[in-house]
């Protein structure tokens, strides 16, 4: 299978790079190889080839995706951001995978994408795989990064939360390898590999160091899944030994969720396999105010895809002008940061945060009465009053 061939090809990848024999410590080997290629955890963005403008793939998705991404485009046009969008529509109701493969090709070409969630009808047969999952695994977007920060203007039960969650994005329980060996008995395989575990742990520690964070916590269930999560934990420990300035500890996933709802301030950076990442990131998003506020980023070696952190389709609130655009707008800022357009990113982010915290124009999901367009208008007004150049007067 793909996972085992990746593991077998690992020594072949490293030996020519470093001339190490078979006895090299895998974690150090990996870290050394990584540092040869780049210094920071952010990658070199694709160059702006066409007149200094970047081209980014845009996948509208379903539910609230299309309307929110339209607002992003509107905002970018208004703020004169040098980004052009290549729109690729993915129809989630057809059985063929042509649409998603077109999207993947477009992302390979452009290097960066902004997407809405593509709905997966779970009543379709197993051959109809999740399009989002297919995208993540084909492009090897191994790290899902989510930064949960409490916004002062939003009412929540817990205040001043600041947690970075790093979730392995390609394997684990999401391997989509299932079979029915005997009628009525279904087996689903959870795959954990040394290669991916080392990779995600290394990403987590490097990000922690870059952002000046003190502690990384690995979330696992190794007391029950001794081999699988045991391997993950062991890889994290190996990588941790190479970062003596960062404290490393581990916590079992059920205890983690319990601690998150009672004492969330004890967490700093968290790293975990795929499914626990899903649970923990949703719990943290709920703690800081809901799915409409937190942006998420999926990073691979060569590609990056930005979306909302909790990946909701929002079918029930689609086209009603009540969705919260904050998460998608902040995701577009993460994308601009990735493209090294930091000035534009900070300008838009500042305007969004001003709307959230000072103007306090909130949508229904965080207890306000504003509409999506009102919030976007307010953001544009903030940009106009503070920014250098806009296309029109509000």
């Amino acid at each position: 299978m793909a996972a085992s061939s990746a593991a077998l090809s690992l020594p072949k990848v490293f030996r020519p790079v470093l001339g190490l024999g078979r006895s090299g410590n895998p974690a150090k080997v990996w870290a050394a190889a990584a540092s040869c290629r780049r210094e920071k955890s952010t990658f070199v963005p694709p160059p702006a080839k066409y007149g200094g403008r970047h081209t980014v793939t845009l996948i509208p998705g379903d539910g609230i995706g299309p309307e929110l991404l339209n607002h992003v485009r509107e905002l970018f046009r208004f703020s004169c951001v040098p980004v052009d969008f290549e729109v690729v529509n993915v129809n989630s109701s057809v059985a063929t995978e042509d649409d998603i493969h077109n999207a993947i090709t477009a992302i390979r070409r452009n290097g960066v994408a902004l997407k809405g969630n593509i709905e997966t009808n779970h009543n379709m047969p197993p051959s109809h795989k999740s399009r989002n999952n297919l995208l993540r695994t084909s492009l090897d977007l191994f790290a899902n990064m989510m930064h949960c920060q409490s916004l002062p203007g939003v009412q929540t039960r817990h205040k001043n939360i600041d947690i970075i969650i790093i979730r392995e994005n390609t394997e684990g329980e999401y391997s989509s390898l299932e079979h029915e060996s005997v009628s009525g008995v279904v087996e689903s395989l959870k795959i954990i590999t040394r290669y991916n575990s080392l990779r995600i742990a290394d990403y987590a520690f490097r990000l922690a160091r870059e952002k000046g964070r003190r502690r990384v916590t690995a979330v696992h269930k190794a007391n029950i899944m001794k081999l699988a999560d045991g391997l993950f934990l062991q890889c994290c420990k190996e990588v941790a030994s190479g970062y003596p300035d960062i404290q490393f500890d581990s916590m079992i996933v059920d205890n983690t969720t319990m601690q998150l709802v009672s004492k969330p301030h004890q967490f700093d950076v968290m790293v975990m396999p795929n499914l626990y990442g899903n649970v923990v990131s949703n719990v943290c998003a709920g703690l800081v105010g809901g799915p409409g506020l937190v942006p998420g980023a999926n990073y691979g070696t060569n590609y990056a895809v930005f979306e909302t952190a909790t990946r909701n389709t929002g079918k029930s609130i689609a086209d009603k002008n009540i969705a919260n655009p904050t998460a998608m707008l902040l995701a577009s800022c993460l994308m601009l940061d990735h493209l090294r357009l930091h000035d534009y990113a900070n300008m838009i982010r500042g305007a969004v945060l001003t709307t959230m915290n000072e103007t306090r124009l909130h949508t229904a999901d965080i207890g306000g009465q504003g509409t999506t367009s009102e919030v976007v208008q307010s953001v544009m007004k903030n940009i106009q009053s503070g920014g250098p150049l806009t296309t029109e007067q509000i």
Partner: protein, 366 residues
């Protein structure tokens, strides 16, 4: 808030009348034997506390204390001592304190052994906000029902090649049917309005899909109860924002583990959460799910609330609703009063003082 308390009271009273019918054995006459497993660490002291409170409440319970340690039976299989097994088979009801899982002892955890011995397929955890023990979440009133025998915890793992491990999640039609049926029966017997199946069928199409299909099939036979399905991530997201929207949740093993602990965290942690395990052949073991706390063992500092509330759950299971209500009220009143509280609840009284206070209240209620 008052509305919810009223609803739970009504549901329990009405449930009493209904479950009297569903239990053929009448417990109102004579003593009912219950196998008590004190456990390790703080286990013995909290078990003593519970026995004292039950005595003060004049509950018709006769305790049969048994110890469980792993012994090697014929054929080399690990099992629990025969006296413990026989006692449980006879009484069908058990109350268990925390058991320690020794590392590298060569035998599986005791909890696992008990689960396998009695085929405890359903883990039920009602999470109700305790008035007086303040958490950021108020008005929590939900029940998590977790499939306890298969799923991700089947323990089947292999190393495919060096560096690649696979762990198998097993979902069977039989187990899914059984847990779904239990969930709906529980909802009906306890006057709960809806059952929500928690799954991740968008990713794990076949396994969670099978679980979901079975839940849907069973829902057909329980038209009086509303059935909904929700993704695990959506449940987590909504749970921390507004836990009042959930009623009964049914799910496979891993999601159940995570969600039941999440809900316990909402109401104040494992020190105040009751839990029950329902097995085949009518066996039910109620337990406290916290650890053995070896650091405070023997020092009269432990908090018996979790074991006490589990014992109350046990009384309800047996149909002794009056006694259950009396003891539960006494416990909640003591906590609400905040005068005599153990250290973990924010006070500085001893376990015996806390127990004594509850006994006093129970006797005052006569």
């Amino acid at each position: 808030m008052a509305g919810n308390a009223w609803r739970s009271t009504v549901s329990r009273v009405v449930g009493a009348m209904k479950s009297q019918a569903s239990h053929p054995r009448t417990f109102s006459r004579g003593l009912q034997t219950v196998t008590l497993i004190p456990g390790d660490g703080i286990g013995p002291e909290i078990s003593t506390a519970v026995m004292k409170i039950f005595e003060a409440a004049k509950a018709p319970i006769q305790w049969e204390e048994r110890n469980v340690t792993a012994i090697k039976g014929p054929g080399g299989k690990w099992m629990i001592p025969t006296e413990a097994k026989d006692s449980m088979d006879k009484s069908k009801i058990g109350l268990k304190g925390p058991l320690k899982t020794p590392i590298a002892a060569g035998h599986p955890s005791m909890n696992l052994l008990l689960r396998k011995t009695f085929d405890l397929y359903a883990n039920v955890r009602p999470c109700v906000s305790i008035e007086g023990y303040k958490t950021p979440y108020t008005d929590v009133d939900l029940v998590t029902i977790r499939e306890n025998t298969e799923g991700e915890y089947s323990g089947i793992e292999h190393v495919i090649v060096d560096g690649v491990v696979q762990s198998i999640k097993l979902i069977t039609e039989e187990a899914s049917q059984r847990i779904a049926e239990y969930a709906f029966e529980y909802a009906r017997n306890n006057q709960r309005a809806s059952v929500t199946a928690v799954h991740k069928a968008n990713i794990m199409r076949m396994s969670d899909g099978l679980f979901l299909r079975k839940c849907r099939e069973v829902a057909e036979n329980f038209k009086d109860i509303k059935f909904t399905e929700m993704y695990l991530d959506t449940v987590c997201l909504n749970m921390v924002q507004d836990p009042t929207q959930f009623d009964v949740l049914v799910m496979p093993n891993l999601y159940g583990d995570i969600l039941s602990d999440l809900c316990a965290g909402l109401i104040g942690g494992l020190g105040v959460t009751p839990s029950g395990n329902i097995g085949a052949n009518g066996v039910a073991i109620f337990e406290s799910v916290h650890g053995t706390a070896p650091d405070i063992a023997g020092k009269d500092l432990a908090n018996p609330t979790a074991l006490l509330l589990s014992a109350v759950m046990m009384l309800r299971h047996m149909g002794l609703h009056g006694q259950a209500k009396k003891i539960e009220t006494a416990c909640f009143d003591t906590i609400r009063d905040k005068k005599v509280l153990t250290k973990d609840l924010g006070g500085n009284s001893k376990c015996s003082e806390f127990t004594g206070e509850i006994c006093r209240r129970v006797q005052d209620m006569e």
